[in-house]
Each structure stands twice: as structure tokens, then as C-alpha cells.
Symmetry: C2
Subunit: 137 residues, 2 copies
């Protein structure tokens, strides 16, 4: 199973466990999701969209499309880019981009904690085959 940006609770046992996914939704669908925010974080780390995309094994085009979607919905640029120059160009986060990361991470952390609660409530393995729920009369 590929990384689908879900949040898991690693309990170690072989049973089932709850997973979940969280995103902030706007007019055109997802505004901020896990993958988008990691992309922003990688851009902050590398100072480059192409390097960030490569580090996530994502095509530049896909990364650029995601950034466009975020910019449109935010109403401002989350990433400032420049072409040419010293290293051929580059990208840095705008204040809005920094804020977007902080916002999502804040709620995503809460989300992870909530999922952990779910797993605690369920215990190790709530699922058991009810083989003979009704004993034969």
C-alpha cells in the first residue's frame, strides 16, 4: 500500500487499527492536505520547487499544480519564486506559506491525538468473528 497520507496508530499487534485522513477544504476541493503541506515544508527546506518535488518522488508539474491550487484558494501566494539568478532560480515560502504549515500541523496534531484515543477506546482487537452468536436451539 502506497503512502496515502493517512494517520495510523502503530500498536504492534496483528489486529485492525483505525486510520484517518484530514484536510482543509475550500471552494475547489482540498486547500491544505498532508501532501501539500509536506511539499511546502520541503520547499522551505530546499529553497526549490523542483528539489522539493524530487525529494517526494513527485513530478515538478504535479507540485506546481498543487501550489497553483493553494495559491488560488488562499488568495495570495504561499510560495515566492524567482527565475534565473545565482542558482538559476528558486522558491521560498511567503509569510502566508509559513502560516499555512503552522495551521495545518496544529490541527493535524490534534487529529492524530484523537485517532489515538479511538484506538485506545477500541482496545487491542475488538473484532472477533461471532461464529455462533446464537447457540443452536
Amino acid at each position: 500500500m502506497k503512502d496515502n497520507h493517512s494517520v495510523a496508530n502503530e500498536t504492534g499487534d496483528k489486529g485492525f487499527h483505525w486510520r484517518g485522513r484530514l484536510w482543509l477544504e475550500g471552494e475547489e476541493g482540498t486547500f491544505l492536505g498532508y501532501g501539500r503541506v509536506v511539499l511546502l515544508e520541503r520547499i522551505r527546506e530546499f529553497g526549490s520547487i523542483s528539489q522539493a518535488a524530487k525529494s517526494m518522488e513527485m513530478s515538478y508539474k504535479h507540485a506546481w499544480d498543487l501550489l497553483e491550487s493553494m495559491n488560488r484558494q488562499a488568495g495570495c501566494r504561499l510560495v515566492e519564486t524567482c527565475r534565473g539568478g545565482k542558482h538559476g532560480g528558486g522558491a521560498t515560502l511567503s509569510p502566508a506559506g509559513v502560516k499555512a504549515i503552522a495551521l495545518f500541523r496544529h490541527y493535524h496534531d490534534k487529529f492524530k491525538n484523537m485517532l489515538a484515543e479511538l484506538d485506545q477506546k477500541m482496545g487491542k482487537l475488538e473484532w472477533k468473528r461471532p461464529d455462533r452468536e446464537l447457540p443452536p436451539a
Copy 2:
């Protein structure tokens, strides 16, 4: 945007809102998710896999694949089927199927409540463009 089985909080305003998705994961990926459980509920309602699939605008094959996946992971049948007979055949939930619905719905309700808390914490629209975060010196 098509139904992606996510849970939303309808706040009425035009801003962003948190959405999420919850599923119970097993060895081969999803064991119980929203769509799968609705499928079980529809089978209980109609007494037929094909009718249930049609009511969800889902192909019979897709429904059948989902049921197979659930049966495999559960280690028992969630749906009892019969071919031929009075109405050509039919399907009913096994005790395990009934239990699966109850299990998922129980935690899914908790999940919905948790997402509502997230939205409450965020308020109407936490996202604002930090146009001039740093005033010009």
C-alpha cells in the same frame, strides 16, 4: 467533487472547513470504510447485492470485490448469499456483518464529533492573508 466518503461540518459560511475520513485498516488495506459499511447497510435494506450496488450507483463487480475483501479480512462471511430460488437469489447480513456495521458506525460517530470540535476550535475562518505581516520599516 464526487462523494469521497469524507465527513464535513456544514458551517454555512464561505470559508474553509475541516474534512476527514476514517477507516479500519487490516492486512490488505481497508477493512471497513464508509462506503463499505453503507454497502452492507444497503444489502441489509434490499436483501440483494445487485440492488444495493445499484442504489449506490456502483457496479455489481465493485460491490462484490469489496465484499470479498471484507470477508477475507474478517475471516468469515459478512454477507450470506444464495443463488436461484424464489427471487433468483439474494443476500442477507450474517451476525458478523451486523456487528461490522455497528462497530464502524460507533467509531465513525465519535470521529464526526471530533471533527466538529476541530471546526469549533478553529472558528469561522482562521485563514487570513497575512498581507503585510511585517510593516515596512
